[in-house]
Symmetry: C2
Subunit: 539 residues, 2 copies
């Protein structure tokens, strides 16, 4: 038997475009005499359409698409995902998989396990199914038995998998939309191998690939036998139609990417898909000469092409000569066009305008924010005028403690490095420079500074990033409290101060641009904290 | 027996402050010989702490607080809400109610029905309980039997209520955090009356009151007998300790507010609590002379006091004389201080700076956005410098179609009227003017305009608000598709254009300030749409 995994990059909501892509893959598979082709979870509508699912017309359109696809699928079995109304209680929805053969839907399985943690809200939309997912079909005069299931069904206690595996099936078929996170790919594959071995079942596992808003799916679909042996593996962060012949011993196993390459590819795919799926080609980026804007620019160039990137240099009287040189050197290395605008005249015009009304005092922070907002306004004007998206350049460490200006450096439509701690920013710059040294050395080596007042350094108001990132990780990723974090070797007062800063700046994060989710606790859909939050961390 | 309903305004996360408030209410009740006092859902931590619930220290602190409270509660029964670890599987959480008597926790009931729709994500945090909620106690030498349950348990099929009512109980006790929405209070009370009558059970229903980020809880707690008769009712949008004597025939039933008063009070409570619970007293508002900023200012004054409000007039060359006069008249009527800043010199400085770099063209929209962002920057400078929150003034109609500037008029920490359609803004202004005519007549009567170019009117780019609001309601609130909306009497092409505009502007709404949720489909936690959304509304 020949099995195809169609690891394809779908567009949420664009049922017609997805349908074309699905049928193209079916035809390619047919041309190679494939017997069974498997697509990712919620294929026809993309994962996850969120509240589009509340629109009955949308659900109807999805079903129509599955029927249209089915009619064109003869001589091949197809497993495809779609949302559907519960057959008896139409106000309820299922997250379903159709098994298609000879132009007809032969079986529909509805997902049993609905994840409702981290970024997942599937209880919001779906009702648990009850079908056993078993289907027997004849392929080339032989009988085959499959156990169809969906994503979360194969995780945790995997009850339905255990049931299906007991029924003498030839293959488990799992259609998934399992988003990327650092360190997840390896553990996902190990889990799948264990599942196969424990249940003595062969598995075809098709995962989604591509970016959808903050989520990025890595693909890395696999075929595993009942001994837990990996027989085939798709590329990570690439669309692929993998064809696997069960009679052939030489199968395709893509190489696993090393840690930094994987992370970098996640950022590229997420950025590219956010732009292109939203109809944008061009990006604007403010180049400060610092490391955050440097990394953001390099990723943007790699994702969208140098010809689509414009760098803005917006120096003030507090900008060092070095900063401007570093920014220009980066732009030259990346071959992107730049514009330079001194913000001094605008800054002094704002000061002149405001000073008489501010009474006795004009707070430093107010003045720093004004500079950042002048830059935000200039950069957004470029973006508006060139049908481009402004990239904001904040990292996770800054965003955590609110070391950023709302509507200033936080302005923008996409924030590529928002889920990278400052130390990861350095690591990724180093990695990218090993491929080709584009980021100036002094950008990497100089002490970080916002340059919003004379001789300002990040270290004036923040602890060293090594310490800060350690505290932030313990709090945000590991849910540790102040005492527990101090026990890791940090000053308790400092820890409490940082934790309060994180809490108090939630209001800024809730107005931040979206950006690629790289961890299981990204700001946004993963970490949902109240703004109004009286928890003082010192009971 | 004397029963007290403690309809109190809690602060999410502030366990110590909540504990004080709880104990104060217990003491007041004790002073009046109350036998049973009932608090709202998740009393000790406030509703809803969201991902604070993932911090074990927080859960431990909540339990400690319940124990401390219990120790101080003798001669009175107390029903209080808190989150707790599942007794056997501590990694799971319950949303629980403790029944306290004689200084001890006598029974813990864990919520059965966990809502996971609209703003609710309870499956994210909690596991369904299995306890029957029945407790028998002796009060003043008599035996009583209660059926304790929590919020959602009493809605829908209310299975646990049916079970409890079968057990010859004296009272059902439901502790709730049921958020306000327009038209909800009446239907909630009718539902409770029906539940009592259908099950032949008496009910003590204590609801939460106060604002928490976007949610506002109206209170309106009730006592209903087994015939479905309302015996007592707390105030709407006010803290109250209601004491009900089962032997007394003259009980307290607060009057229901009329529609506009109710809506207005919701806005006041939400605004006041957002400011005060976050430690802010002062607000900045840009007064354009238009209806949106007028209503926002009036609500801010009523909620926070005129002495805490500063109005900014930021006219441009496109501002009509009328606008400035209307804004000043409003400020005078409200007795708030104002500052006026002509933005022309800043505007021309931006134009001068940018024009050489924009190539052949300078798009109108770019220029309009620059003006809005100059205003945003000036207003934020005031807010930063005065430790105030900038109020943004956009309504739901504008926000739906993206008729607003990110980082411009959308800048701000709180958006009071974000869940009011434009027509509701007019109605509410009319209502407020019947109390005291503070909003200038010409503000109400003149055609709406953003005044970002010469003689601009909203009607240049949008249909009449009567039509627009009707289309938006059908799409956003009723999930109708384009054809169905057209069938209500609208032009199909216009409908499709509006629907696409709503979809395409999701990116702006995801960077918007929070504001009071007044409907069951507010932008924010209710309506969760993807930004990347290829659904074209014309399959």
């Amino acid at each position: 038997m020949k099995i195809a995994i169609a690891q394809i990059n779908l567009t949420v909501g664009h049922i017609k475009k997805n349908q074309q892509l699905i049928l193209e893959n079916v035809r390619k598979a047919q041309a190679q005499s494939v017997d069974l082709i498997v697509f990712p979870e919620l294929t026809v509508c993309g994962y996850l359409p969120e509240d589009l699912l509340y629109h009955q017309q949308f659900i109807d359109d999805c079903l129509d698409s599955v029927k249209t696809i089915a009619e064109q699928c003869h001589d091949i079995c197809v497993v495809i995902g779609f949302p559907r109304n519960h057959p008896n209680e139409p106000e309820k929805l299922h997250n379903s998989a159709a098994f298609i053969q000879n132009g007809k839907i032969k079986m529909i399985y509805d997902k049993h396990q609905l994840p409702n943690y981290l970024v997942f809200d599937e209880h919001r939309y779906f009702t648990k199914g009850s079908h056993d997912g078993i289907i027997e079909v004849e392929i080339k005069d032989e009988n085959y038995k499959f156990g169809v299931n969906i994503c979360e069904d194969i995780w945790n206690d995997a009850q339905i998998i255990v049931e299906q595996a007991k029924q003498n099936i030839d293959w488990l078929i799992n259609i998934s939309a399992s988003p990327y996170a650092v360190d997840k790919i390896g553990s996902r594959i190990r889990m799948l191998q264990k599942r196969c071995k424990d249940n003595g079942a062969n598995l075809v596992y098709c995962n989604n690939v591509g970016g959808q808003d903050e989520l990025v799916f890595d693909g890395t679909s696999v075929i595993i036998n009942s001994d837990g042996k990996l027989l085939a593996q798709c590329e990570t962060f690439q669309s692929q139609l993998l064809i696997f012949d069960t009679n052939d011993k030489n199968n395709e196993i893509s190489e696993r990417l090393d840690h930094q390459t994987e992370l970098y590819q996640a950022l590229l795919m997420s950025t590219r898909d956010y732009f292109h799926k939203n109809g944008f080609q061009r990006a604007i980026i403010c180049l400060s000469g610092g490391i955050d804007s440097a990394l953001t620019a390099v990723i943007a160039v790699d994702a969208l092409g140098a010809e689509n990137i414009t760098g803005l240099l917006l120096p003030s009287k507090f900008s060092s000569k070095h900063s401007i040189e570093d920014a220009l050197e980066l732009a030259k290395n990346l071959n992107i066009k730049t514009h330079s605008i001194e913000i001094e005249s605008l800054h002094s015009e704002f000061e002149k305008t405001l000073t008489p009304m501010m009474g006795d005092y004009f707070i430093n922070l107010t003045d720093e924010n004004i500079q950042a907002r002048i830059r935000g306004t200039l950069a957004m004007a470029f973006a508006n005028n060139h049908n481009a998206i402004l990239l904001s350049t904040g990292n996770k460490s800054e965003s955590a403690v609110g070391y950023s200006t709302l509507y200033g450096d936080m302005a923008g439509g996409f924030a590529i490095i928002k889920d990278l701690f400052k130390q990861q920013v350095y690591e990724l710059c180093e990695y990218r420079n090993t491929l080709l040294p584009v980021i100036p050395k002094s950008t990497v080596s100089k002490p970080p500074s916002a340059e919003l007042r004379l001789d300002q350094k990040d270290s004036d108001s923040l602890p060293d990033y090594e310490i800060l990132d350690d505290i932030l990780k313990a709090y945000i990723h590991d849910f540790k409290d102040a005492e527990q974090i101090a026990a890791l070797g940090h000053d308790l007062l400092l820890v409490k101060k940082i934790l309060k800063q994180v809490d108090r700046n939630e209001y800024k994060r809730q107005q931040a641009a979206p950006g690629p989710r790289l961890t299981k606790m990204a700001f946004g859909k993963d970490r949902r904290m109240p703004i109004t939050n009286g928890y003082p961390h010192n009971y």
